[in-house]
Amino acid sequence: MLPEFELYEPETLSEACELKKLPNTKIVAGGTDIYVSMHGGKLRPDALVDIKNIKELRVNERTNDGLVLGALTTHRSIEEDDFYKKNYSALFDGCSRVGSVQTRCRGTLGGNICNAVPSADSIGPLLVFGTVCVIESCSGEREVPLEEFFTGPKKTVLGEDEILKELRIPAPAAKSGSCYIKYTRRKAMDLALCGYAICVSADENDVITAARAALTTSAPTPVRAKNTEGYLIGKKIDDVDVSELGKISSAEAKPRTSWRSSAEFRYALIEELAGRAFNNAVRRMRGE
């Protein structure tokens, strides 16, 4: 049962930023994390600021340069629009595997990012597309690259009056492919035991011109796998040795041993998933 709390439902972002400063107050969008924690008694905020009525947070722009997605974009809206499946495949992979259909209809990209757990399914894909976060506060707006957004498990750079407003996602190069693999024990309603996201672009000679990889549930925060990227850039696709790729990615991870699984198991998984994600991204790039 939910404990008692004050509920605010502001219509504007500036109002919401002001309310966020109240003591022991949380921002809530879809509520798929916050209400669950409150039901279980783990979280007892004095007030919630429900931002669902703020129209500015529902932006959805597609230009040749890329996307602008409002923080309130739901996982389900990504899953159901073939545009993302085709052009931002990894994002489709991630959003379509969040929780259940019900949670995907409620849960938002902004919530997934701000909850800042290492297993969040949209974050790895957003990292490999070079996403920039636009943050609004009482004193204005600032931009932070997503990879600099997280400061620790469940911790972000957001200040006391700051709210994530939207995501700017650059368009991948014409010849690109991406993939996110969510490794779970169960086929639905599960958290990633390990997540691997990758996006590669190549020129007409199949030389990799850009590569981004990201690891989730493999370190205290979602992280870019820069050594992996360095290994790939400049190589011909057919020259990539997936077992070496796996070893490089695995060496970049810092998983921990918990009751969910041992670090050793996660290292082994990353080593395997890296090659699978890369191969799948290349297949998609080639339209196979």
Binding site: R186, A188, D190
Partner: protein
């Protein structure tokens, strides 16, 4: 549908429409006028002395009407041993144990006030494993003699052992001497959660000399027996109104919130409603984890000679149904095989864990894991086919079971062959590699289980003024289909259309006595009672029709629902027109009591060896086979197909039997590869439905080919046997054996996890 076909026809379950449309009323849907809401304060510690409890802040919280502790109501209960307090007395023995309870104007107030209860604890070292329990340095209960024995359990003074059960058959020493090969192994089954959709709940309205309790319990009379006197009521004063059950599987066989709600209602003079949250549910009741050591001997041609099993159940902090699990599993521990020399020694130990109790199968699925892993190990050692070695050794009509009983109506060989055929066993190697590099393997398992004996039941069958029937039976509908099957029996017996027969909801003040809804017994026991009642109804109706026709009852017959007069072919009456005919008008009502009991056939087993000529009214047997695929690089396990064949005696409602088995297979999949309650230092880490992984529909997306084998039970209603628990008994063992075959590595614990496969280590 023609009346003579009603037995064996697939009928749409009578409770289905209400349940899928949301009309069905569960306990949480009950609200009584003027009710208060109750909440429980649970122990955060696994083991601690309660030095003092300060309830003053909770009592002072606005809207609170009562706060109670164990000291206010020192009441203990227990089906086998009266060891369990309603609210902790002096000590807490598991994390989550109810310590105090609050009644308040709203649920929120009750829960907030429960948080304000302050308890001064002195923490004690926790008995955190079976090994700790056996070591006995710390005792969970100081002295078993402090408690009254209420059933068959055998606590050992000065230890944490609350029960020991032995099954001794033949001469174990001689058996191993006569064996050419011996295989020895260990097995472990994890602690499980019943994971029912509906959490425990109760609404109680207590007066001084009577009480009404609304609850979804599966065994209302057994619960009345356990707590009515303790709470100050005779049985006639203690009325349980049953609601629909949102999942039982054994977890609703004992009192949980009922006594607490009654005490709060007694204290406040108002009705009190209590509903557990999922977090509370997780620490309420579990399937006990169990450890086996098992040694099996056979001749070089694969004939079993000897089997020795030692097993330890971690039944949690109080005895609950643990001794019964030990008993039932003990009788099933050798599987459905002829083994001339056996020695099973089963121990039920108490620990500072959540309570292990009845769970679909009463330990049989667990022992099946152990004996079926052994059969595969033996087959491997002898280079025999796992199916062949089983067929060589299984019980057949006239075989002597390991409890000394001569068996009848045995079709386990047929079940094994059919289950194997359902996955194409003979066309597949034991293990192979797919072109994609995935490992495939096949596995098979069979089981035996008894139904609790002796036990009794009764029912009332009442004809209404319009000729329709009500059946009042306390066999609770909990998915097994009893509310559909009992009308089928009555319809077949009397010829009344099944649409005009309803099983009434259970109410202990009105419904005749039934021992429990457990042990897969309802179709068999309640079915026999309904047939008994219907014979009487038939007799009463013949008298009424004879009276109407002005002939003697000897001249009237009732066959296939038609009354006929032997001396006048023009006199014909359809039983479905009996009300319209006026035959019932102003006559004394037509009603009959039906009874069935098994005390007279039961031959009490020898106390030491448990050998007897008749242990149970009914044995269940069946088999399942599985094909699985394992990804050797990620450890992912995918079930490709499960084939099942169960001897149901006579499938009264075949679709219901298939549903029971399908559900059982999915449940078994959870046991085999997903489910476990994980404790670290006495602290439950995964007490929620994300981290405790029950299979979803997407995980259950594999082929199932299920066969119903029908070897009639001579004493069953129309030859029927039970199928409630059996559906899940061999599922996990068959899947685990298939995984072991695929990986060419014998896993000795469930769930088998990807991590175990990748790292070849088991947790």
């Amino acid at each position: 549908m023609s009346r003579d076909q009603i037995i064996g026809e697939s009928i749409v379950r009578k409770d289905g429409r209400d349940k899928v449309t949301g009309r069905a009323r569960y306990c949480e849907d009950i609200d009584l006028s003027g009710q208060l809401y109750g909440a429980v304060y649970h122990s955060p510690y696994a083991h601690a002395i309660i030095k003092s409890i300060d309830t003053s802040k909770a009592k002072a919280y606005p809207g609170v009407r009562a706060v109670i502790t164990g000291e206010d109501h020192p009441i203990r209960f227990g089906n086998f041993l009266r060891d369990q307090p309603v609210l902790a007395l002096g000590k807490v023995r598991f994390q989550g144990e109810p310590v105090a309870a609050v009644a308040a104007d709203t649920e929120r107030i009750a829960r907030e006030a429960a948080r304000l209860i302050e308890v001064d604890y002195e923490e004690l070292p926790a008995v955190d494993s079976i090994e700790d329990a056996l070591k006995g340095d710390v005792l969970v209960h100081d002295d078993w003699d402090d408690y009254e024995l209420t059933g068959a359990t055998h606590p050992k003074k000065g230890t944490n052992i609350v029960d020991e059960f032995k099954l001794i058959h033949g001469d174990i020493k001689k058996g191993f001497e006569e064996s050419d090969v011996i295989v020895e192994g260990d097995f472990y089954c994890s602690m499980l959660q019943h994971a029912v959709m509906e959490t425990h709940a109760a609404v109680a309205d207590a007066a001084e000399d009577h009480v009404d309790v609304y609850t979804s319990l599966q065994s209302p009379f057994a619960v009345r027996g356990m707590i009515a006197h303790e709470l100050g009521y005779t049985f006639d004063q203690f009325r349980i109104h049953c609601t629909e059950i949102g999942g039982g599987f054994g977890c609703k066989a004992e009192p949980k919130l009922e006594p607490i709600a009654i005490l709060l209602s007694q204290d406040t003079g108002k009705p009190v409603k209590m509903v557990y949250g999922r977090d509370e549910e997780f620490e309420t009741v579990t399937r006990a984890p169990v450890k086996f050591h098992i040694k099996t001997g056979a001749t070089k041609d694969g004939m079993l000679k000897a089997q020795q099993i030692t097993l330890y159940w971690d039944t949690g902090a109080y005895a609950t149904y643990g001794p019964r699990v030990n008993y039932n599993a003990g009788f099933a521990s050798n599987g459905p095989y002829v083994i001339p020399n056996c020695f099973t020694d089963g121990f039920c130990v108490v620990t500072n864990h959540a309570l292990g109790t009845a769970y679909r199968g009463f330990g049989v699925s667990e022992v099946c894991n152990a004996h079926e892993a052994q059969m595969d190990a033996l087959a491997a050692k002898l280079d025999m086919d796992p199916l062949e070695i089983r067929l060589k050794n299984v019980l057949r009509d006239g075989s002597v079971n390991t409890n000394g009983e001569v068996m009848e109506s045995v079709a386990v060989a047929e079940c094994l062959e059919q289950a194997a055929a359902n996955i194409g066993w003979k066309d597949k190697p034991d293990h192979w590699v797919t072109p994609e590099g995935k490992l495939r393997g096949k596995g098979i398992a069979c089981f035996i289980k008894l139904t609790g004996t002796p036990s009794t039941t009764s029912c009332l069958v009442r004809m209404n003024e319009d000729g329709s029937l009500n059946i009042m039976s306390a066999s609770r509908e909990m998915g097994q289909g009893v509310r559909t099957v009992l009308p089928q029996f009555a319809s077949s017996e009397l010829g009344i259309d099944i649409d005009k027969i309803t099983v009434s909801q259970v109410d202990t003040a009105i419904t005749p006595y039934d021992k429990t809804t457990t042990s897969s017994r309802s179709t068999f026991h309640a079915g026999n009672a309904v047939l008994d009642a219907c014979h009487d109804i038939k007799r009463q109706l013949i008298i009424l029709v004879a009276k109407k026709w002005q002939v003697s009852p000897e001249e009237v017959e009732l066959n296939d629902g038609m009354f006929t007069c032997v001396n006048d072919p023009k006199k014909v009456l359809d039983i479905n027109d009996i009300a319209a005919s006026g035959a019932l008008k102003e006559e004394t009502p037509v009603a009959a009591l039906g009874k069935f009991g098994t005390k007279d056939i039961f031959v009490p087993p020898d106390e030491e060896t448990h050998q007897t000529s008749r242990t149970t009214i009914m044995w269940f047997m069946g088999a399942q086979a599985a094909e699985v695929e394992v990804d050797p690089k990620t450890g992912e396990i995918k079930v490709i197909k499960v084939g099942a064949a169960h001897d149901v005696g006579h499938a009264i409602n075949p679709v219901g039997c298939l549903q029971q088995i399908e559900g059982g297979i999915v449940m078994g999949l959870g046991h085999a590869v997903l489910e476990e309650m994980i404790y670290r230092d006495g602290d439950l880490k995964n007490g929620n439905l994300v981290d405790y992984k029950v299979p979803t529909f997407m995980d259950a997306d594999f082929d199932m080919d299920i066969s119903l084998v029908e070897s009639r039970h001579p004493e069953g209603p129309y030859g029927a046997k039970g199928i409630g628990e059996p559906g899940t008994a061999p599922s996990a063992p068959a899947i685990a054996n298939a995984i072991s075959a695929a990986c060419q590595h014998r896993f000795s614990s469930i769930p088998v996890k990807p991590e175990h496969i990748l790292l070849h280590e088991e947790g």
